[in-house]
């Protein structure tokens, strides 16, 4: 975790610097089908995070040697815009982005029926337009919606939420300051229907009991966010219905 400091992250009333309770999420908004060319897309606002996701595929995997004869290859690309953070980030993938892309791809692979599309690739482009801690989970959560929007068959929509430790207390969904000055961060993503864990990382210092508390907290939040994902998809479907009816009336 980040540097230690004297900054107090939880006040006497047990509230965090942005006024949240320990188990309270930041506001989350998801929209499906936001791009024209992509096969599927989604946009998420999660606290100060703004992340756009596009899905292309399944399409013939290229170059050919990357093809898998028995299933689709999942290519996730997590990318941060140069202007998404306080100090300009040099454009292009750094080592952090490569690792995050890998774990996001692996998490989505757990849910996608890859065996239905041999020799193809499913390309998932995650663009972080503004970052405010928790971008990998925000990106992953939106990516699931974009995959569903692209009509790719999945066991369920993967969804996640980070938890962590600040001022010695386990809390949900760290913001930027809490991520910088807290003691642990634990991003986690699940398949809601089975509650299997598909992404899990952790850094900092936590006891076994604290991890148990954090995992339970994250899971509960993930199930809540799962509903926001579903609503975003339904909203997109509703719009279509209205449009189609409108056309018929003409």
């Amino acid at each position: 975790m980040g540097t230690s400091s004297d900054i107090k992250l939880i006040n006497e009333e047990g509230l965090r610097i942005d006024g949240r309770k320990s188990n309270e999420l930041r506001p989350i908004k998801i929209e499906a089908g936001v791009l024209n060319r992509a096969d599927g897309s989604a946009y998420i606002e999660w606290g100060g995070n703004k992340v756009l996701v596009a899905v292309y595929g399944p399409r013939e995997a290229f170059p050919k040697h990357t093809q898998n004869p028995s299933r689709a290859v999942i290519n996730a690309r997590y990318n941060m815009a140069a202007f998404s953070v306080d100090e300009r980030k040099r454009p292009g993938p750094d080592r952090r982005a490569v690792e995050i892309s890998k774990v996001i791809g692996e998490a989505l692979e757990c849910a996608i029926f890859t065996e239905q599309f041999p020799r193809t690739s499913i390309d998932i482009y995650i663009e972080v337009l503004q970052a405010d801690a928790g971008t990998r989970i925000a990106g992953l959560t939106a990516a699931s919606v974009a995959l569903a929007d692209a009509g790719i068959p999945m066991r369920d929509m993967v969804v996640g939420c980070a938890s962590g430790k600040i001022d010695g207390k386990v809390v949900l969904d760290l913001n930027k300051e809490e991520d910088n000055f807290g003691q642990a961060d634990l991003p986690i993503a699940i398949i809601p229907r089975t509650q299997e864990i598909v992404l899990l990382q952790m850094d900092g210092n936590m006891s076994r009991d604290e991890i148990q508390e954090a995992v339970a907290m994250s899971k509960k939040a993930a199930l809540f966010i799962s509903n926001i994902q579903r609503e975003a998809l339904l909203e997109r479907y509703k719009e279509k219905e209205v449009n189609e009816e409108g056309e018929r009336n003409e």
Binding site: M1, T3, Q67, N68, P69, S70, I74, R95, R96, V98, E99, S101, K102, V103, G105, E106, E109, C110, L186, I191, T194, Q195, E196, I197, V198, L199, L200, Q201, M202, D203, G204, N205, M206, S207, R208, I211, Q212, V215, K219
Partner: protein
């Protein structure tokens, strides 16, 4: 061999390893929570400030530490720098290619780095030469020489062993050399999911058929300092805590028996 025949062999192997795992067995006869033979030779490269050669079963990794003067990061003027890199050398496996580090290599280095950094193993604040201007930079370089599975643990244990032995070459700037200030001793232990079993320290054959991998680094107080789930399969919450308990238990043994701490 064509890719399709690869797939068939892979399928058969997976089936066999899953089958024996339901009977509580592993392909090399180990128990589920048993590490392979682990041998660590420190000071393998005396020219480095610290080094360790690790043989974990038939996996072989060489970790070298170099410590040099450098500029601190602007946001941490009163702290030395730790940086970790790994190279999956083409000599180590027919599947490794030369060239810039791929995502496996980057993940390996970053997970090893996380275990060291988050445990606060090295007292980086004692590596300041001139605040804001000059600090010691600790370079940990992981050379994978022979690949027979579980590179994460072999590399992490090698890095910790090499750092424990490392000396800061302060005589180069007119001071006297001093041992790298060490506060904690993290140990990484990885479990792999085969069928519905979790096995510690997977060898290559096990790694090839595993659906998920979970690496957990613990410190000497039994606290968890870093975790990473890998591969494209899922784990249950119960399995996560089996992996954590494996790591605490096996880590304690390795810390004492192999690292002498």
């Amino acid at each position: 061999m064509s890719k399709s025949s690869d797939e068939i062999v892979y399928g058969l192997k997976r089936e066999y390893l899953q089958k024996i795992s339901t009977e509580g067995n592993r392909i090399d006869g180990r128990k589920f929570d048993e590490f392979r033979e682990l041998r660590v030779t420190t000071n393998f490269v005396p020219r480095a400030e610290g080094s360790a050669e690790v043989r974990l079963g038939n996996s072989r990794v060489l970790v070298g530490v170099k410590i040099e003067e450098g500029e601190p990061f602007p946001d941490t003027p009163n702290s030395g720098i730790l940086t970790t890199n790994s190279e999956l050398l083409p000599m180590a496996s027919p599947t490794f290619e030369s060239g810039p580090p791929n995502e496996d290599s980057i993940e390996l280095a970053r997970v090893v780095d996380r275990g060291i950094r988050e445990s606060k193993m090295i007292d980086l604040e004692k590596l300041v030469i001139e605040p804001g201007k000059k600090v010691w930079v600790v370079f940990v370089d992981i050379h994978v020489l022979d690949f027979d599975g579980n590179l994460i643990d072999a590399s992490a244990i090698g890095a910790v062993a090499a750092l424990i032995e490392s000396k800061v070459p302060a005589s180069k700037i007119g001071l006297s050399d001093f041992p790298l200030p060490i506060n904690h001793v993290p140990v990484m232990v990885t479990s792999a999911k085969i069928g519905s079993s979790l096995v510690v320290d997977p060898n290559l054959e096990e790694e090839e058929v595993a659906t998920a991998r979970i690496s957990v680094s613990t410190d000497e107080n039994g606290n968890i300092v870093a975790m990473q789930k890998g591969l494209g399969g899922s784990i249950t919450e119960e399995e996560l805590f089996i992996a954590i308990d494996n790591s605490i238990k096996v880590g304690k043994d390795i810390r004492k028996r192999v690292l002498g701490k």
